[in-house]
Structures are given as C-alpha cells and as structure tokens.
C-alpha cells in the first residue's frame, strides 16, 4: 500500500472540510486519492470506494463496525488501509 503513497507508511494530513460539517471516510479517501497518491489510483480505489482486498480501519476498528463510507472522522482520528496478504 505504501508504494502508492510515495513509500510512506503513515501520512498525517489536515483535510479541509466542505460545508463546515463532519468529514466522512468517503471524503477522506477521495481527498487522499487526489492529494497524496503518487501511483496508480486504481490500486487504491474502485469507483468511490476502496478496491477489493483492502480493509479500511477507523482507529484500529473495521470500518464495517463504524458505518463504512459514511463513518465520520474527526481531528486525531486515524484512517488505515490494509491490503490482505496471501503469501506463505
């Protein structure tokens, strides 16, 4: 995953929020794709969501438990993208 983000495993970002409201994971991802990605976007996203094989976490919790794309993220929250591994 880090190959897509300039070989950095962690990126801290201040994402501008439109409408003065809360930022959703969907918006955070779109922002990351447009502003941080240094490689091919299709290896990160598929449409407006994450591509198959990537698990999205909000603060170490599966996003499925937080509302997925609509989960709200605030100051200090961590969004993590983990590729499922197959090797052995």
């Amino acid at each position: 995953m880090e190959l897509l983000f300039g070989n950095q495993k962690t990126v801290e970002a201040d994402i501008p929020v439109s409408n003065g409201g809360q930022l959703t994971v969907a918006e955070a991802m779109a922002w990351a794709r447009d502003n941080l990605l240094t490689e091919r976007p299709e290896l990160f996203m598929k449409g407006s969501s994450v591509r198959p094989g990537v698990l999205v976490l909000v603060n170490d919790t599966d996003w499925e438990l937080c509302g997925e794309l609509e989960a709200e993220v605030a100051e200090g929250d961590r969004v993590t993208f983990i590729s499922t591994l197959h090797g052995g």
Partner: protein, 289 residues
C-alpha cells in the same frame, strides 16, 4: 493411575509435563490437545513452524497437505525441511520431521493439492484447520470449505517483512474470509513470496503464532484471535491488533442462505473468481544478479 480420567499415559505425562504443570493449562487441557486433530494446508514458510510446534505440543493427529517438492531456495524460511530432503515431497519431508519430534502422535500426509473436489471431505476429518497456503484462490477455497464443514480456521499470511493472522469461522459471530473480502482482489494485488520476496523469519513468526492459536482452539485455553486481526510489521517491530466485523448474514459462504455449500462447492471456479490459478506452475527463474 488414571484417577482423573485424563486418558494420558506415563510417557505423555513426562513429555508434556512442563505444559501440564502450568496452572492455566493443566492435564485436562493437555488431554484435549492429545484427542484433537489439525489440518495444516501448506508445508512451506508458515506450515514449517506450525507443524513443528503442533506436533511438539502433542496434537493427537496432524494432517499435512502439500503437492510441491522441497527446493534449496525454500530452506532459508522453511525450517522443517533440510538439505537432505531437497527433491522430496514437502508433505513427506514435514511429516518425517514431525515424527522425529513426536513419535506418539499420528501424522497424515496428503500429497495432492487441496481442490474444490476434495476440500470439504478433507477438512471434515480434522477439528481445526490452519491455512498456511500461499495463494488467493486456495485461501478462498479453504475458507469456504471450513464454512461448509463447520470448522474454525487459523489463517496466517506473510510476504516481504509483513504478516497477518486471524481466526475465521469461529463461534457464533466469527466472520469467514469472504465476509471481509467478498470480492477477490485483482491478481496484480496478490503478490507471492516466490516473486516479491520474503525475509525468512517473517513466516516463522506468523506460523508459530498460528500454532499458538490452534493450541488455544483445541485445548480450550486462552482467547483465540476471532474477530481480531493481528497485523505485524517485522521491519519496524510493530504489532497491532484490529477489531473485525461479525459474520455477515448475507455472506454467500457462511450467511443465513449460503450459495456455496457442501453440494455446490465442488463445482465452484476459484480460478475464475480470483483471476489466477492456485499453483504457480512456472518454476521461478534462477536468480541472476
């Protein structure tokens, strides 16, 4: 002698004494281990330490599935094999090492690959399954077979200097692999150790942890990593555990109305679903520098 009805003989008590005297383990837990059985799919980087430690711990019956033969380039990480077994069938080489460690257990070898045709009936013969395989179609196959047969699955993976570990299909609410990844990743996103490389100790760490999880499941001691994914970055020395979703009611393998069942699984096309074959048939090119 067997006043406590644990069923262990004197040799077993002597062999496993250091686990038996452990207050949180004890003789009943050891007896459960000795009555239990585990199927290890893959006798490679993950399967090597998993098989060694499960045989050592006294699991009563250990099954090993692998269709490949031992190569010299395996040995930097596949420590159950040795130079003298290069060219030998991996499952046989692994079984030999397990029996040398513990002649009191049963070790069964399965020399053909796990396929849709044989998976469910093979998995049914064991209490717990360890996914120590190395490719995406096999991982989906193992998960589906465990759902169909009702077996808990200790799934580990390693590549480069990264590893992952969790227990699927466990208890009332444990998800299966498809619950997390209902759509298979594109083939280009499924790197294999033989192509991308792997630091030998990394599958060593994950495989040993897989043995630990299988011991917990079989003995009933400790909390298995169900609904938790352990993510390991060996280069940075970072381990973190993430909370996972519950089983999905809509899952095609383990939901309320699964379409992948004992009856339908044999005709499921895993190669088409993942866009890749299970076996990496082309032998890797010798490395030229």
């Amino acid at each position: 002698w067997d006043g406590l009805q644990h069923g262990l003989d004197k040799d077993q008590i002597a062999r496993y004494s250091r686990q038996i005297i452990l207050h949180s383990f004890g003789v009943q837990a050891q007896a459960r281990l000795c009555r239990g059985s585990v199927l290890i799919v893959g006798a490679g980087g993950l399967g090597s330490p998993a098989a060694l430690y499960l045989a050592a711990a006294g699991v009563g019956r250990v099954g090993i599935v692998d269709r490949d033969t031992v190569e010299l380039s395996n040995i930097h990480r596949q420590v159950i094999h040795k130079e003298a077994t290069v060219g030998m069938h991996k499952a046989l080489s692994a079984a030999e090492a397990c029996r040398a460690l513990n002649s009191s257990i049963q070790v069964e070898t399965h020399l053909e690959a796990l396929t849709p045709a044989n998976a469910v009936q093979l998995v049914r013969q064991y209490d717990v399954v360890v996914d120590a395989s190395d490719n995406a179609p096999t991982r989906y196959l193992i998960s589906d077979a465990c759902c169909a047969a009702g077996r808990s699955l200790v799934s580990g993976a390693a590549i480069g200097t990264d590893g992952q570990l969790t227990v699927y299909c466990h208890g009332e609410d444990g998800p299966c692999y498809r619950c997390l990844f209902p759509e298979a990743p594109a083939a280009g996103n499924c790197a294999r150790c033989v192509d991308a490389g792997v630091l030998g100790v990394v599958p060593g760490v994950i495989g040993t942890l897989q043995a630990l999880e299988a011991v917990k499941l079989l003995s009933g001691v400790g909390d298995p990593l169900s609904r938790r994914l352990l993510v390991v970055d060996c280069a940075a020395g970072r381990f973190h555990s993430v909370k996972l979703r519950a089983r999905s009611p809509n899952c095609v393998a383990c939901g309320a109305a699964p379409s992948i069942t004992t009856a339908s699984l044999p005709s499921y096309d895993y190669a088409a679903f993942t866009g890749q074959a299970a076996a990496n048939d082309a032998a890797p090119q010798p490395l030229q520098l």
